[in-house]
Every structure is written in structure tokens, then in C-alpha cells.
């Protein structure tokens, strides 16, 4: 039978077999599908219904966080969960997810990933609201409002112990996840210390949780669930998962969240009343009613009205008050905080057995911690001073700005005397500094000056001592390591063959340096040196290593000659001594010697491509570019996946070396494109990396302030 006929027949048979298999599979899949439909009942109706109510509104939140530490800025990525709560794309999440956020992205259940902006956050309740970029959502994904959204319920106060709940979110950034549990305690208050007092935690320098009675439940949550919804079996959001660990989870009640969201949408923040009183429960005070006044803030309205530590408050605005246990403190704190700012408040008090009444208007509760900013050119991180900080840090006044970070090697640290951590700046260049705005004005004036002053005189306080100093403000020189002296190089890698090994190899009288690698096209290659050759002398000088400590002797002997010299190598090859002559060439640039560039905008460090990189990756001379040498954490480059490899081109322009790289990057910085496309070569070939820079001005305090102001 002709070969082609066999082939044709085989093909026919194969087609028949494939057809039969297809039919069989189709039939099998139909059965499987039928079975799967039956399996739909595996999920209890109530769970499925609750899931379907909230799941379409569930989102994954990513935040690029900018924080300060070690005298500089740090960027990293924070991940969390959230829920769309309005059809026009408002998202509820945790404040600890959005805190110090610089950029925000959300991924909807249909995998649509778009940007978002912060509407506001409330550290006290650890809640935040984001707004989805609807234009981007439509442009990129064709999705328009109304968006699917979930209901924030009022029923969190009515939750029962043992009630089933579902936690939804993105544990460890694994989105669209649901776990089930029960409510363990709907009114959990954290207490601490010997007195068992309610515990306020810290969120970015602000107290948090002091007003919250948490919903404790056992639906498994993990890092990444933060901000995700806790849902009852009616499909209502009853809480916002905020904390967890060791199988216990804690959610902020939805009723509280609803009120916070309303205020954030209206004002961008939550405004609260403050009276300047620290209450504790009476359990250990000897009283059996009322609430005990533990401390009174001198600057608060209650102090002005005459309230004193040790007083017992028995009624507020005519309503009897009894705070017998720690769990009853947060609701009282919240009741006072929820009063409208400026509202009158009347306390019935008992003092040393006598009763009296005081009335006062509430003040506004201020943030604990002032805003920080970095003055890069001076190497200073400063923070505005709040009344709380005045107390905590025992400062004299709120005037001035507090130094909370100093960059080593920059003007503030190099000034003599140096401006140190904890100093309060009171004047810069002769202008008084009382607020953060003053320091920013002084900084911008410095940045705008042509030429910039070489010295800036600064006055500052360290406690009650007043100092003056002058910061030298000259910029740092360009980073390029000094060039290494060129040395001769043969283009081989050798290993020492000490006497013991030489004996094993059958030439006990000839220790030497065995050629482990000959670099193609280099001097040794041209001279005819081969892998396996044993070099026993250079210019008649024996090369006989005694011990491994002499492993570098041959290479050193070559380096001690002159470039252009001819070296005569005595080589043992196949048991015979031969002489080879090699004209010594200049050694190639090593990776350590390569010049480098640091692009602060992209957080990208690169260096020259060296001969050794080419050799390592097997790249020939046609391959050109710059090697990635490091990235700043969560910088634009790192977020775009530029982690290692050779940058071959940027936005279609070939990178020939460091010089062209710098020129292209300068052009990009000038043009501020939305997206920059890098082609990066690695051992596995070339790939595209899409970097999306955020060119928006970071604020007047930053180095780009003059441009921002001009815009």
C-alpha cells in the first residue's frame, strides 16, 4: 500500500475517532451539566440569596501608600476590600486601607480595574469612602452607572449572638471570597490595663475605635478582608470587617458606618464634639451609679465650666447616666461626640457629697496628629502641631512646625548645629513660622529663588532652648562612582591547580592555573588558549599556586603588566608544554564599575550594560540598552513590573546606553504621558512593561511645587 494511502486512511480513521470522542464528551458533559444543575441546591437558599445581594457590589481595593520614615519617604501598596454603596460608585472601605494613600484603584466583580479617589476618611471609626472613576470605567470597560450596589442596613444593633453571617472580600488580595460564621458577640468592647478600661487603638497617629462596639464573629477573615462587608442572611450589610486574628473577627456596625458615610459624603470628614473629659466606669471607684471623671483637659469647655477630676456625673442633659462597666464607656463617648458642635450640655455632678450642675457648650474634636510633609531639598520632614501633640510632647505652644524626620547627609542634618528630630522650627530665612502654611511658603520661596540661596538660616526650639543655624543648600553632585584604573586582561577564567590536584591529574611537577573558560573573541581566544589548558608560567615567571589562597595570583600577574604588552604564556596541553603569545587588552568594565542613573520620578535605578552582562545572558554586541539596577518600593517602575533585565526601548525609542536613556527619560518627564511602554529583555526574551506614571502635582510642599503653582 502506498505510503500516502496509509496516511490518508489514518487521517480518516482519526477523524472518525475524534468525532466519536467529541460526541461522547458532549454527551458526558451534558450529563455533568445536568448533575451540576442539581448541585445548585447545595448552597442553602438563604446563603445564596445573601451572596447574590452583595456580591455584585463587592470590590477589591488597592492603595499606593506614601509614608515617612528613616528620614525619607516610603511607598508601599496596601490592599483591602470594599462595597459599592451607591449606584454612582461610592465605595465603603476601611480608613486603615486608604490611610496615607497617594493613588487608589478598585477592581469590580467583573474584573474591571479602574482608578478611584478618596472622598474622605474617619480614623476614629476606621471607615473611608472612595469614589470610582466612572469616566474611566466607561472608557475602559464600557460600564456605566447605575452600578450594582449593596444596602447598608440599620439592623446591626439588633444582631443576635449565634446569628449566621457571611464575610466577603479579598483575603490576601484573593478577590471575590466568601466565608461563613456566626455572631459571637454583637457588642464587643476591647479593654486593657489593670483598670480594664476601653482600649483606643492607633491609626496613623489618630486614636481609633474609641466609639465602637464591635461585632465579634467567627467568619474567617484575613489581611485583605479589611473594609469588606459582613452580611446577614437577608443580604444586608450589618458590619464592615475591620480587625481579626486567631479565628476572631471584628466588624464595625453598619448603623455607625451609615452615619459616618453620610457625614463624609456631605463634608468630606466627620465632625464631632469634644468636652475635654476622660470618663471611666465606676466599677472600681466605690460608686454604684453615674460615671467617674478621671481627668479633665485644661483647655476643654468642661474644665472652664468647673468640672474637676474626681467628680461623679450622674446625669447628662437631665437623663440619668450609669456607666458601671467598661463596655458602657464607648456609647457614652459616642453620645457626647455625636452632639452638634457648640450644643449646650448640662451635667449633674456630685462632689464630696454635694450636688451641683454645670452647663457648657461643646468644642470641636480636633485631630490628634498634624499633617506631615517632606521638604526634600532640605532633608526635613515636618508636621503641623495639634493641641493633642502639645500635650503629648510637652511642647510650649501649637506655634511652629515639628521636625519628625531628618535625612542624613542633607542640609538640615549637615547644618552646624544640626536640626534634629523633635525640634520645632520657629523661623526660616528671617520669616516667622507659626503654621505649616508658613513653612511651605518659605520652602517655595527658596525653590523659586534664582539663584537659590546657598545658606538658609533657621531658628528652632528644643524644649525651652532657642537655637539658630544655617543650612547649606547646595545640591548633591551627580551620582557616578569614580572610574577604575584600566588594567590589562586576558579574557579567561582560571582555577588554581595546586600540587595535590596536579598529582591526581598526572602532572605532579606542574601545578598551575587551569583555563576554565575562554571568552570568545578576546585576547586569550585570539592567542589560541583553550579550555583545559594549564598555564604554568607568564613571561617565564612560574605560576605554581601552593594553596587556594593563591587563586588570584595568575590574574594579578596579568594585571601587573601593561596594557598593550605581549605576555608569553607557558601552557601545558595534552602533556606537552607550548608557548602562546597574547597581546594584553584593557579589561572590560565590571558591573561594580558601571555608571548608574537614578530616576526619582519613576523610582528606577539603571546602570550601564557590561561585557559580563552580555556574557551572562548570552547577548551579542547588537543587544543595547541599560540594565535595571533597582527600584524604589511601590514606585511607578516597580508597580509597572520593571524589576530586572535590560531596558531596550522606551516608548518606541531605542536605548543605546546611559546617555540616550537619560535623554529619553528627560523627554518623557517633559511630556508627562499617561503611559510609558518599556521593552525589557531578560534571559527569557523581551517583554513589554506598561508603566502608568502619576504626573499630578503632589502638593505645594513637594519639589515640583513651582510648576504646580504655575499651573
Amino acid at each position: 500500500m502506498p505510503k500516502s494511502a496509509v496516511s490518508a486512511g489514518s487521517r480518516h480513521l482519526r477523524c472518525l475517532a475524534a468525532g466519536a470522542l467529541t460526541l461522547a464528551l458532549t454527551a458526558g458533559q451534558a450529563v455533568a451539566l445536568e448533575q451540576r444543575e442539581d448541585r445548585g441546591n447545595m448552597v442553602p437558599d438563604a446563603v445564596a440569596a445573601a451572596r447574590d445581594e452583595v456580591f455584585p457590589a463587592l470590590i477589591h481595593v488597592e492603595v499606593l501608600v506614601k509614608d515617612y520614615g528613616w528620614g525619607g519617604e516610603m511607598r508601599y501598596q496596601s490592599n483591602g476590600s470594599g462595597t459599592i454603596i451607591t449606584p454612582d460608585g461610592l465605595v465603603l472601605t476601611n480608613a486603615h486601607v486608604t490611610d496615607n494613600g497617594e493613588r487608589y484603584w478598585v477592581t469590580l466583580t467583573g474584573n474591571q480595574r479602574v482608578g478611584a479617589e478618596l472622598v474622605g476618611q474617619d480614623e476614629a471609626t476606621d471607615l473611608a469612602v472612595l469614589r470610582i472613576d466612572l469616566e474611566e470605567l466607561e472608557e475602559k470597560h464600557g460600564t456605566t452607572k447605575p452600578l450594582p450596589f449593596a444596602l447598608l442596613s440599620d439592623v446591626s444593633d439588633d444582631l443576635q449572638i449565634g446569628e449566621p453571617v457571611l464575610a466577603m472580600g479579598s483575603p490576601f488580595s484573593l478577590d471575590k471570597s466568601v466565608t461563613q460564621g456566626i455572631v459571637s458577640n454583637p457588642k464587643r468592647v476591647f479593654t486593657a490595663g489593670a483598670e480594664g478600661r476601653p482600649e483606643a487603638m492607633n491609626l496613623g497617629g489618630e486614636r481609633t475605635g474609641q466609639f465602637t462596639e464591635w461585632i465579634q464573629h467567627d467568619a474567617l477573615i484575613n489581611p485583605g478582608n479589611s473594609g469588606g462587608p459582613l452580611v446577614n442572611l437577608r443580604g444586608e450589610i450589618v458590619g464592615i470587617n475591620t480587625r481579626g486574628g486567631s479565628g476572631m473577627a471584628f466588624a464595625t456596625p453598619s448603623a455607625m458606618a451609615k452615619d459616618v458615610v453620610r457625614q463624609i459624603i456631605a463634608n468630606g470628614e466627620v465632625q464631632r464634639s469634644w468636652i475635654g473629659v476622660d470618663f471611666i466606669h465606676v466599677e472600681r471607684t466605690g460608686f454604684d451609679r453615674g460615671v467617674f471623671v478621671n481627668a479633665v483637659d485644661d483647655a476643654g469647655p468642661a474644665h472652664e465650666a468647673g468640672l474637676q477630676p474626681g467628680d461623679l456625673v450622674t446625669a447628662i442633659n437631665g437623663e440619668p447616666i450609669n456607666v458601671l462597666f467598661a463596655e458602657q464607656v464607648p456609647p457614652l463617648e459616642r453620645m457626647i461626640a455625636d452632639a452638634a458642635i457648640g450644643d449646650e450640655m448640662t451635667f449633674d455632678i456630685e462632689r464630696a457629697g454635694s450636688q451641683s450642675q454645670i452647663t457648657f457648650a461643646t468644642d470641636r474634636l480636633l485631630k490628634d496628629s498634624g499633617e506631615k510633609t517632606m521638604l526634600r531639598e532640605w532633608g526635613l520632614i515636618v508636621q503641623e502641631i495639634t493641641p493633642f501633640m502639645v500635650q503629648q510632647r510637652r511642647l510650649e505652644t501649637e506655634e511652629g512646625v515639628l521636625v519628625v524626620g531628618v535625612t542624613q547627609g542633607r542640609p538640615a542634618s549637615l547644618a552646624e548645629p544640626a536640626v534634629g528630630w523633635g525640634s520645632v522650627l520657629t523661623s526660616i530665612a528671617g520669616k516667622p513660622i507659626t503654621t505649616k502654611a508658613d513653612v511651605l511658603a518659605a520652602y517655595n520661596e527658596f525653590l523659586d529663588a534664582e539663584p537659590r540661596p546657598e545658606r538658609v538660616v533657621v531658628e528652632y526650639l528644643e524644649r525651652d532652648r532657642s537655637y539658630v543655624t544655617a543650612m547649606k543648600t547646595e545640591p548633591l553632585d551627580q551620582l557616578d562612582p569614580p572610574r577604575e584604573l584600566p588594567k590589562p586582561w586576558l579574557g579567561v577564567i582560571t582555577q588554581p591547580v595546586i600540587a595535590e590536584l596536579a598529582a591526581q591529574l598526572g602532572h605532579p611537577e606542574d601545578p598551575g592555573f587551569r583555563v576554565a573558560r575562554v571568552f570568545p573573541g578576546k585576547t586569550a581566544d585570539a592567542a589560541g588558549l583553550e579550555q583545559g589548558d594549564l598555564i604554568v608560567a607568564v613571561n617565564g615567571e612560574p605560576m605554581a599556586p601552593r594553596v587556594m589562597e593563591e587563586a588570584g595570583r595568575f590574574a594579578r600577574a596579568i594585571r601587573e603588566l601593561e596594557i598593550g604588552d605581549e605576555a608569553e604564556l607557558t601552557v601545558l596541553r595534552n602533556g606537552e608544554r607550548i608557548a602562546l603569545k597574547a597581546e594584553l587588552d584593557v579589561g572590560p568594565l565590571t558591573i561594580e564599575q558601571a555608571r548608574r542613573d537614578r530616576n526619582r520620578d519613576f523610582g528606577l535605578n539603571v546602570r550601564e550594560l557590561t561585557f559580563f552582562d552580555r556574557d551572562n545572558y548570552g547577548w551579542d554586541d547588537d543587544v543595547r540598552g541599560v540594565m535595571i539596577d533597582g527600584t524604589t518600593d511601590s514606585g511607578w517602575a516597580q508597580l509597572g513590573g520593571l524589576n530586572f533585565g535590560l531596558i531596550e526601548s522606551i516608548d518606541g525609542q531605542a536605548v543605546r546606553g546611559l546617555k540616550s536613556y537619560r535623554r529619553i527619560m528627560d523627554e518623557i518627564t517633559e511630556a508627562e504621558p499617561e503611559r510609558v511602554v518599556f521593552v525589557v529583555r531578560s534571559a527569557r526574551g523581551s517583554s513589554f512593561k506598561f508603566v502608568e506614571p502619576d504626573w499630578r502635582p503632589e502638593g505645594l510642599e513637594e519639589d515640583n511645587a513651582p510648576q504646580a503653582a504655575a499651573n
Binding site: 516610603m74 569614580p482 572610574r483 548608574r596
Partner: protein, 264 residues
């Protein structure tokens, strides 16, 4: 007499005057020693400079760069402002990610310096050459390689270093002896092992002639064995002889000339 007593004293690891056999000899030796110290101090004072600079290192916490203000010792080796120092002291072990910037050269106890830049380095020899960018017209006092001291074992040597600003940058002279001359990994004068001085410290003979500069010599990873690790700890200082420095300096100047041509 001076040479003999110094050699004996140092060889035993003790100060020379304490070993003198009689009060007369001790007095003579002490007087000679004082004179020697004084002459070395006087001859080298203007050539021992302080290099003040900012070292920027990439790849710090979170990938950010870090800057530190540092100082190290330098030696003026030419009238036109050419200075030599230890590469290790200037750059540390940054592996190419560190670079000195904003370099100033301070003379004596001056608080303000003159600007300088690095022109070349030889990491293998642990040397870096710097040049004052706008040298003074009258030139600078310098150490002359042409009139170098010997490295014969037994030669008394004197390290000269400048103290910190806190001590008014006082010039200090320390005495040692050349114990041996090693040929591996290269020609190096080895000192007595309690003569521990920082890399970059110049060493003179009793006539204030440069013997060499202390350099850091470490085996590569390939050359390092557990035994050599211990042996290194009991070594004295390793002095690169002046004639070797002279040769390396010629190469450095050639590189500088090439760089200048390229710039033009």
C-alpha cells in the same frame, strides 16, 4: 643610636624608652625620639589633609538612596593639588552603588575647605586619587615619591594621622617597625602587629621620607579559607611601598588626561 633603640623597642612590642639600659641612654633616646617626632610632624603637617564629603548609597531601605556626611584622611602628593586616599575609606563597600560627592579638602584645622573631585581609583590597590578643582596659584606642600624611604625589615616607621575636629585636628605620630616584606598577593611591607592604623594612613621613615601608605588587602571570596581568616587577624598593617604608589599614580594621571581629552 636612634635606629637601634627604636628597632629593639618596637621589635619587643614595647615603647623604646622603657627598654633603655641606663638612665643616660634613656634620656638620649627620649630626646632623639622627641626630635624625630617633631621633625616628622613639621615635615608632613601641610601634606596631611582631611577629606570631607557626602557618601550617597543607592538601594537603602525601600530602595531609596541614603546619604551620610563622612571624613577620611588624604595625602597631598603633588604641588598642583593631587591627593591620595584609601578607596575603602572613601567609598566603603558599596559595590558600585556608593559614590562620594560634594568633596571638600580641609587643611590643618580649617573649618572650610576647597572643592575637589575624584579622578581615578584602583580598588585592587585600595587607592583613590582626587584633585582640587581650583588649586591655589602658589601650589601646595606635598610628599615627594622621588625621595622615598626604604622598606627593609627592621626599619622604624612613623604613621602620621590627623585627629578629629573635636581634638583640633592635631597631628599624631605613631611608631612601628617594618617586620617583613610580603611578595603575595603583591609587594607589601608588613608592620608589627600592634601597629594598627587606618587604611590611607601614610607611613614615613625617621627622615620623614614616605615609606608607603597603609592599604586594605583582603582575599577574594575564592582565596578566603577559614585558616586565612584567622591569619589575617594577626597581621599588622599592610604598607604599599612608595614606588608602587608612584607607578599607580602615573597610570591615574594618564587616565585623567584621557578623560579630559574626551571631555573636550
Amino acid at each position: 643610636m636612634l635606629t637601634k633603640s627604636l628597632t629593639l623597642g618596637v621589635a619587643l612590642g614595647l615603647a623604646a624608652p622603657a627598654l633603655a639600659g641606663s638612665e643616660t641612654i634613656a634620656a638620649d633616646d627620649a630626646a632623639s625620639q622627641v626630635a624625630t617626632y617633631a621633625s616628622i610632624t613639621e615635615a608632613t603637617d601641610d601634606t596631611i589633609v582631611t577629606i570631607k564629603y557626602i557618601l550617597r548609597t543607592e538601594g537603602g531601605f525601600g530602595g531609596e538612596s541614603m546619604e551620610f556626611e563622612l571624613e577620611c584622611a588624604g595625602l597631598m602628593i603633588a604641588e598642583d593639588g593631587l591627593i591620595l586616599c584609601s578607596h575603602t575609606m572613601l567609598e566603603g563597600g558599596g559595590g558600585g552603588r556608593s559614590a562620594p560627592s560634594n568633596i571638600e579638602i580641609l587643611f590643618g584645622d580649617a573649618a572650610e575647605g576647597v572643592e575637589a573631585e575624584v579622578i581615578a581609583k584602583d580598588t585592587e590597590l585600595d587607592l583613590t586619587w582626587l584633585r582640587i578643582t581650583e588649586p591655589a596659584e602658589e601650589g601646595y606642600a606635598f610628599v615627594d615619591f622621588e625621595d622615598a624611604g626604604d622598606t627593609d625589615p627592621g626599619t622604624p616607621i612613623f604613621a602620621v594621622r590627623r585627629g578629629a575636629d573635636f581634638f583640633g585636628r592635631t597631628l599624631a605620630v605613631e611608631q612601628g617597625v617594618i617586620s617583613a616584606v610580603a611578595t603575595e598577593p603583591r609587594e607589601l611591607a608588613i608592620t608589627n602587629n600592634n601597629f594598627l592604623i587606618l587604611p590611607g594612613t601614610p607611613v614615613f621613615d625617621s627622615k620623614a621620607r614616605l615609606v608607603g601608605i597603609n592599604i586594605l588587602q583582603q582575599p577574594t571570596a575564592e582565596e578566603m579559607t577559614p585558616a586565612s581568616r584567622i591569619a589575617l587577624q594577626v597581621m599588622g598593617s599592610t604598607i604599599l611601598p612608595a614606588d608602587k604608589i608612584r607607578g599607580a599614580t602615573k597610570r591615574a594621571l594618564a587616565v585623567e588626561a584621557m578623560d579630559n581629552e574626551e571631555d573636550e
